[in-house]
């Protein structure tokens, strides 16, 4: 065959794996306490289909299954799978984010408690007062504008242009984390919440004492963990999920 497809034919296995990874991420996020009510959404570019995304329908993260995730294109047309309705905010945030940031395969948006509390402050600066926060050095954007929900393309585009780094604090709202793989986004979001929690506690004790700039810079790239370490991190938590919940997320 010498035909050149305009769009690479997606491999069924790759799409199935993406559904499994994303469903597991929702369940692990639920275990970590990141979901507020039925809100929050995580999306992932469908392998081989750069203009379509997998995203959750409205509901509790701990009930999400691989086949329950919806596929939608950037114009909002439902393509495949999924039960229930897609929250309009989920569509307008994630479709515009993926359109603006093609490298961000996975986009997570949550109202997780400690990071969101920081996003409510006039000065949401996470600071560089903690070893674990050094990995975020230079990787955080702050969107200081809040205009109500994200209910149209224009607000989605505005937010996407403010979200110029892997982590964004959204004023009066929550956080956005983007990355090339599900394990990377899981680890980054997990460590962000751990850091925000310790920052919150430390601020009750006094002023943050910053790490010296050159030390922070030196270790920033080192702490953006190796792929192997991130894989270990993901595998361990995935095993916990399977131990406690079985294979329910694979349905």
């Amino acid at each position: 065959m010498f035909t050149t497809a305009l769009r690479a034919e997606p491999s069924a296995d790759a799409v199935r794996q993406a559904r499994l990874d994303l469903a597991a991420l929702f369940r692990l996020g639920a275990r970590a306490g990141w979901q507020e009510g039925c809100g929050g959404h995580i999306s992932m570019v469908v392998p081989g289909q750069p203009d379509r995304i997998l995203v959750n329908t409205y509901g509790r993260w701990e009930l999400i299954t691989a086949s329950g995730l919806a596929i939608v294109d950037f114009d909002g047309n439902r393509q495949d799978g999924g039960e229930g309705r897609i929250d309009p905010a989920a569509f307008f945030i994630h479709a515009r984010m993926h359109r603006a940031h093609p490298d961000a395969t996975v986009v997570l948006h949550s109202h997780q408690p400690y990071a969101t509390a920081l996003a409510m402050l006039k000065d949401p600066d996470l600071g560089i007062a903690y070893q674990t926060s050094l990995r975020f050095y230079g990787h955080i954007a702050y969107d200081s504008e809040y205009n109500g929900g994200v209910l149209d393309d224009a607000e989605g585009d505005r937010m996407a242009s403010a979200a110029s780094r892997p982590i964004t604090f959204l004023s009066n709202h929550g956080i956005m984390v983007t990355g090339p793989t599900v394990p990377q986004v899981y680890e980054m979001t997990f460590m962000l919440e751990e850091t925000a929690k310790r920052t919150f506690l430390a601020r009750q004790m006094g002023e943050l004492k910053p790490v010296r700039e050159e030390v922070a810079r030196h270790y920033a790239s080192r702490f953006r963990q190796s792929t192997a370490k991130t894989a270990d991190f993901w595998d361990s938590f995935l095993q916990l999920l399977k131990r406690d919940e079985g294979d329910g997320y694979k349905a």
Partner: protein, 253 residues
């Protein structure tokens, strides 16, 4: 050094007992919410092998660690036994601390939330304002400047020297805390007490008044009473061992 030649895989009864207690310490620390992600490490001198230490390999959550998962390194940082690899920070912090402080048979390092937050705030001082604090009187050290995670021999040695002689806890600026003790029970209870005291101090300070300071002589007597492995430290570990034997006995595997 009382070290005798060791051949890989040889585990005597004393080492088996040590492995079980250290594995239990990880499970207990997880139960109490001290693990951040999959980081941090505990170590223990192998009974009868003063320059060999048991330590957790990277890649296991504390709640899944079993006695046989622990690996052995020596106090110069060399791998001795065990299949998995040790993180460089685990290797150098623990090897250097044990080398410098042979009386400390057990060294624990965590990023437990309240004590870690304490190390992030400018000029934090541990105050002796509550009964539980007294065991630390004259036995606490501070490293006031962050130099890195302790991923090399020099930084490990520097942290070991900051721990100092006879101290049982070291606050690491912008990083976390180390406790040291003659047994798993002692070092674990120190970690529990440090976390509890940091939390209680932060809560008390929110009332806005100065904290009551316990008389130094009473503090000194309290510290003396809790030297070594105190009765309550042993009882704390034993109670948690009974809980683990009921709920997750696989830690002994």
């Amino acid at each position: 050094m009382s070290t005798v030649a060791r051949h890989p895989g040889a585990v005597d009864d004393a080492e088996r007992q040590a492995r079980c207690e250290l594995a239990a310490a990880f499970r207990i620390a997880d139960h109490l919410g001290w693990q951040e992600g999959m980081g941090n490490h505990f170590s223990m001198v192998v009974p009868g092998h003063d320059n060999h230490i048991l330590i957790n390999p990277y890649g296991l959550l504390w709640e899944e660690i079993t006695a046989s998962d622990l690996v052995v390194i020596d106090t110069d940082g060399n791998h001795v036994a065990g299949e998995r690899k040790v993180d460089s920070t685990a290797r150098w912090i623990h090897a250097m601390c044990h080398k410098a402080h042979p009386e400390a048979k057990v060294i624990l390092h965590t990023h437990a939330p309240w004590s870690t937050a304490f190390t992030m705030a400018e000029g934090s001082v541990f105050e002796f304002s509550h009964q539980t604090t007294m065991r630390f009187y004259g036995k606490i050290a501070y490293d006031r400047e962050y130099h890195g995670p302790g991923d090399n021999k020099d930084e490990g040695a520097r942290l070991a020297s900051m721990l100092g002689e006879g101290n049982i806890a070291l606050f690491l600026a912008a990083h976390g805390v180390i406790t040291a003790g003659p047994s798993v029970a002692a070092a674990l209870y120190s970690m529990f007490a440090i976390e509890t005291c940091c939390r209680r101090q932060a809560l008390a300070k929110q009332f806005g008044d100065k904290l009551f300071q316990i008389d130094p002589e009473i503090c000194a007597a309290g510290a003396k009473r809790h030297e070594g492995t105190s009765f309550n430290a042993r009882a704390f570990l034993d109670a948690h061992l009974r809980r683990l034997d009921r709920t997750s006995p696989d830690f002994r595997d």
